[in-house]
Amino acid sequence: MRPIRRLLCLSTLCAMTACGSIPTKAFEFDAIDTAEQPRPCLVVVNDDWVGAAEKNQFVNVDGDDALRLEIPFTAAEIEVTIAPVLVESGKVTRVPKTRKEARDYSGFMDDTRRLRLLDPMRQLFILARKSGSS
């Protein structure tokens, strides 16, 4: 093998090895309303609404709890959306697929935050009522 080709192969291997170690961080998500009461929500990472529903990324559905998520940082920042949901008898009545749907159906505003690897582990979202909602 020619030296230049060997060097290229080695560089590619190094790059692949580096790419294989995507940093992850465990965050704890929670949501309350302005009266400081727990608010049921769906936690959506990087706009993956289907994945969030499939992985059951809900918080405060069955009482006051928090959701712990291990998040890989494929970029410097990840985007987390907290989408309010309505709950009846411990079950989510409708799983939103968009921010607008979450807002319109729940009567609460959604919230989005861009998180970095070295941000605080606990992420609390305080959701306001939608204008016109009592």
Partner: protein, 89 residues
């Protein structure tokens, strides 16, 4: 003189926090630290690069502000308190 100084030798910075309305609740990094205005709070950057402060009140829109060590240091240099003003709903 406002109570605004870097804690001795550590990563903590003590700043006075003012919230309006004064009976709003204050959270630092998602943990409720109290209610009311004009109280000193410690900003500890030993485990994080950024710290977020939230204030909430039932009759107002909640607010969030993010701080870095540099932004807090600038406030200390300028002798500024942390002020969060909520907008009525």
């Amino acid at each position: 003189m406002p109570l605004a100084f870097a804690a001795c030798g550590g990563a903590g910075y003590v700043r006075v926090m003012s919230v309006n309305p004064p009976d709003a609740s204050v959270y630092i990094n998602g943990v409720r630290v109290g209610q009311g205005s004009g109280r000193p709070y410690t900003f500890d950057f030993s485990t994080t690069e950024r710290i977020y402060v939230q204030a909430t009140h039932p009759d107002y829109q909640p607010e969030i502000e993010w701080f870095t060590k540099e932004s807090i240091q600038q406030m200390i240099d300028a002798n500024l308190d942390v002020k969060i003003t909520l907008r009525p709903r």
